[in-house]
């Protein structure tokens, strides 16, 4: 276990950003940190990387508190959504700074990524497009090979091909150099098969902490005539229901295993497993809060 978070609460004035969050991260695994805008994902990552102190609770990273702890921070790489660089920095300066900061930095690998992402080495950072800026973060995050690497929405402005390149390079490099990776993202479908473990935060609380394979197929929709759907739903937890003409669609907690498929067949209803993205949406659809509008959706 390389990260241990116990009962962490973070308040900003009267706003509770994190509310009694506890979990651990193990060595060499890829985690998906999922949730809506304003759920507390970024705050949590800032606390893990020593950029914020929790209001209450304890955080240990590599067995020590991360805040102002150089030994811990040298083993941690946090790729932020909106990384700031000094005004006169060019791409090569950002890479040189990263090379000095991270003990495991692989310069040859960084240079090959720069070529693959088509980054202009001598262009001033402030003249980069949004996608190129994200690519700089991705290169730093991969080439730093930090034992704990956190990506906070790393792909803003990256097109589908560049995002695929990121996923492919991440998987290949992770296979060669295993480490703990936390991917915070809204593009859940794109990373669903990449992550080994899923953490979902909703309104500051951790509501899912589970292996991705365990989670798959834990929620289903059942569609059919109302009486048949009711018969299927009986004894199960229904989360949501929609009616269209003579059909009812119910979203419920349950597994699409052989038994429930047989039961669905017998009752004449269609059972469909939810994707990870659909699951997260139905678990986190609360009332819209004003702070959700602050972050620009992609």
């Amino acid at each position: 276990m390389i990260v241990s978070v116990k009962d962490v609460t973070k308040r900003f004035g009267r706003v509770v950003a994190l509310d009694g969050v506890s979990f651990t991260l193990r060595e060499n695994a890829i985690y998906g940190l999922l949730g809506r805008n304003g759920a507390g994902k970024t705050t949590l990552m800032q606390i893990l990387t020593g950029q914020q102190l929790p209001t209450a609770g304890t955080v240990e990273v590599f067995g020590a508190r991360p805040y102002e702890n150089d030994a811990v921070l040298a083993r941690t790489c946090f790729v932020r959504e909106a990384q700031r660089y000094p005004d006169d920095y060019r791409v090569k300066h950002a890479l040189r700074a990263a090379a000095l900061l991270f003990p495991n930095w692989d310069e040859a690998y960084a240079q090959s990524l720069v070529d693959e992402f088509g980054l202009p080495r001598s262009r001033p950072i402030k003249k980069l497009s949004r996608g190129m800026l994200s690519a700089v973060g991705v290169v730093v995050g991969l080439a730093s090979r930090a034992p704990l690497t956190l990506f906070d929405e790393p792909y803003l402005g990256l097109d589908a091909a560049a995002r695929q390149l990121f996923y492919d390079r991440l998987l290949a490099d992770y296979a060669e150099h295993p480490r703990t990776v936390v991917l915070s993202t809204h593009l859940i479908d794109e990373v669903a098969d990449l992550v080994e473990h899923v953490l979902v935060i909703d309104q500051g609380r951790l509501i899912v902490d589970e292996e991705a394979d365990q989670l798959r197929g834990q929620m289903v929709t059942v569609t059919g005539p109302p009486a048949a759907v009711d018969a299927f739903v009986a004894g199960r937890t229904e989360l949501h229901r929609t009616t269209i003409g003579p059909l009812v669609r119910s979203t419920l907690r349950g597994v699409a295993d052989a038994d429930s498929r047989a039961e669905a067949e017998r009752l004449g209803v269609t059972i469909t497993p939810l994707s990870l993205q659909q699951m997260v949406v139905s678990l986190t659809t609360g009332a819209a809060r004003p702070d959700m509008l602050k972050e620009t959706p992609q």
Partner: protein, 118 residues
Amino acid sequence: MDEGRPIFVQIAEEIENAIIDGSLPEESQVPSTNELAAFHRINPATAAKGINQLVADGILYKKRGIGMFVSPGARAKLRDRRREQFADRYLRPLIVEARKLGISTAEVKDMIDTWETR
């Protein structure tokens, strides 16, 4: 990958299918965990879980330092297992759909016969 079923199960099934259809002969080497992960764009630990399930089943065996290989007798073993599952996996949905459409069992049998002579 298909939703709702664990990915490691699907990885294991894919290798099983390759063994059954002969594209992975007995004693041949199967792709490594990292190759499977990169090809399917899945987590290497998940790919490893699929492989390990086949090792536990005796379908694959490990040659230390070299990789995973198809066990002798794996093909026959898999075929037997799939034959046992055949009725449940393929006949059941056929009968259910036939019933829904009002097609009798005799008609279904008839269709199978004509299908074969096409």
